[in-house]
């Protein structure tokens, strides 16, 4: 049974990569948007661009994982092809995890490109294990957030609209551009209930080679967010097929 489920997760992710992710709209939304955003800040203040790299990577994670994730489930629900997956001898959570894995793998490809090119261009030497400890759970967190928002609504455009709200709130409040500690106390409280704060914090630590214990703490919190997003997403998807 578990082998069937693992096989299903793997092949669904692989199929989604071929059919949705490695297509120009996903690639452009996943990479071009964060790069353009950061470039705007760089042009305003070219000094200290290294400071923006963790934020750039965090935004790439956020946008690349959610770009298609918030579309594919409702899109397939509409076409009836999600039912085809559910007719296979695998569980419904496995189908959803396959979808989430697809988003996470695509995000990983995008993040790898952005991280390597930033590190080479600016001569940065991040702590690779710490980087992995933050990037991998973050990819799953935001991919499952996309899946959750997708199953919350019925239409593809509704999911995209709904997703823009947390995306942009997180860009401003989670330390991508301004450090959380420099924000008013009230906004800091908001920042700490958003997962991107922990991604940015972990990435900053990975790039500055400071305390790795705190990176573990960020990883744990991110894993908590993953559970917080994926469980209701599974429940909501079950509801659609009651």
């Amino acid at each position: 049974m578990w082998r069937d489920n693992l096989r299903g997760i793997y092949y669904i992710a692989l199929k989604d990569m071929r059919t949705y992710y490695l297509k120009p709209p996903s690639v452009s939304w996943g990479i071009i948007f964060p790069v353009a955003w950061i470039l705007a800040f760089y042009l305003r203040n070219p000094r200290g661009f290294e400071e923006l790299v963790p934020g750039l990577i965090a935004m790439t994670i956020l946008f690349s994982t959610t770009a298609a994730e918030a579309v594919v489930i409702n899109f397939e629900l509409r076409l009836g092809s999600l039912e085809r997956l559910l007719l296979a001898p695998i569980s419904l959570p496995s189908v959803l995890l396959g979808k989430v894995l697809g988003g996470a793998i695509f995000g990983l490809l995008m993040v790898t490109v952005v991280t390597i090119s930033s590190a080479l261009t600016l001569g940065l030497h991040p702590n690779i294990p710490c980087l992995i400890l933050i990037v991998i759970p973050s990819l799953f967190v935001f991919s499952s957030l996309g899946a959750l928002l997708c199953v919350l609504v019925k239409e593809v455009f509704e999911a995209q609209t709904l997703l823009n709200l947390p995306r942009f709130i997180m860009i401003f409040l989670c330390g991508v551009i301004y450090p959380v500690s420099a924000m008013p106390k009230v906004l800091q409280y908001f920042a700490y209930v958003m997962p991107l704060t922990y991604t940015v914090d972990g990435l900053r630590r990975a790039f500055s080679a400071t305390s790795s214990t705190m990176v573990f703490a960020d990883t744990l919190v991110l894993m908590g967010f993953f559970v917080l997003f994926i469980l209701p997403a599974i429940k909501l998807l079950y509801k659609k097929f009651e």
Partner: protein
């Protein structure tokens, strides 16, 4: 449970909110037969298939497929069944061959057999020449055939077909029916739903007639027709629409069923033919309408359906979305 019964449903019921879609239905399907669920759109046929294949939870009742309970052992069931939904729902971006390969991967067909099985099915369904064409580029008939092929990639013991020929032209529908008949000859059990009476008559070993969520009669097309054959069936054509006069005409024949098959055409089931002719001619004279033709006809499954359900065959011709189907 007898080994010959591969599907059993007992009191199977489904509510969607307040709407009762399937109402305590009972039926059995034998190994190797083509069993048809026949009824108009909205009768609950698709909901029944969805409950049997794990896409929808029954509100009440029990059902088993191949001895496994649909409520608690659905994954075991899915290993042995193939499902072809009403909508051809493969992936537009993938080629015919890649769609089959993906299904083979999903169903755990051994790696060494995947390619061979996919190619074999493409040949059986006459799609081998189009194996590299994206699904979206195939004709409606080809899409349907490929969707059935996808449902068979793992050699299922039972194939569920939901309205297999809906939306196909006459030639494609005929070719698909031949394919379905061939599958039965290979020993596969087929559970299909249809609202085409002719299709049920041609393909099914047994049919269950379903109306408004309930199964009202089960039997072979031959036995259902035999029920009507005992009685006379007279078809009358008039020179104009007699819909408004139908009740008046029915009242002249107590205990006999009068059904409009077209606005200007009725069929009269049962009664003594001599009395019927006499009464009908008097009725036409009184109303000032002209009888264009009178035929004594050999009953078809359509006549059995009309007799059993009291529904007009025009209801069966209504497709989803309210379109009328042309004669197939």
């Amino acid at each position: 449970m007898g080994n010959d019964l591969v599907i059993q449903a007992s009191g199977l019921t489904k509510f969607y909110g307040e709407l009762l879609a399937v109402d305590h239905i009972n039926f059995e399907v034998k190994r190797g037969e083509i069993f048809g669920l026949l009824g108009p759109n909205g009768a609950g046929k698709t909901t029944t298939i969805r409950m049997l294949t794990g896409l929808s939870k029954p509100t009440e009742g029990k059902a088993s497929v191949l001895g496994f309970d649909v409520g608690s052992e659905i994954v075991k069931i899915k290993r042995h069944i193939g499902v072809v939904p009403e909508i051809s729902n493969l992936y537009d971006e993938l080629s015919a061959f890649d769609n089959l390969m993906f299904m083979a991967q999903l169903y755990g067909v051994p790696r060494s057999q995947r390619r061979k099985r996919a190619e074999e099915l493409l040949k059986i369904f006459g799609l081998y020449e189009r194996k590299d064409s994206p699904f979206r580029a195939l004709s409606r008939g080809m899409k349907r055939a490929l969707t059935i092929a996808a449902g068979m990639i793992h050699n299922p013991k039972i194939l569920f077909l939901d309205e297999p020929t809906v939306g196909l032209d006459v030639v494609a529908a005929r070719s698909l029916r031949n394919l379905i008949a061939n599958l039965r000859q290979q020993g596969m059990t087929i559970f299909l739903t249809t609202h085409y009476l002719k299709e049920a008559d041609l393909l099914c070993d047994r049919v269950a007639i379903m109306v408004k969520g309930r199964i009202i009669k089960t039997g072979s097309p031959v036995s259902l027709k035999a029920e009507v054959e005992k009685e006379s069936v007279i078809e009358l054509s008039f020179d104009r629409d007699i819909s408004e006069l139908l009740e008046d005409l029915s009242n002249r024949f107590p205990g006999v069923k009068v059904v409009a098959v077209e606005p200007n055409k009725v069929r009269i089931y049962g009664g003594i033919p001599a009395n019927i002719y006499d009464n009908v001619f008097r009725f036409a004279k009184n109303k000032g309408i002209e009888i264009q033709s009178v035929n004594s006809i050999k009953p078809t499954l359509e006549d059995a359906f009309i007799k059993i359900t009291g529904l007009s065959p025009t209801i069966m011709a209504i497709e989803k979305g309210g379109r009328h189907n042309v004669a197939r």
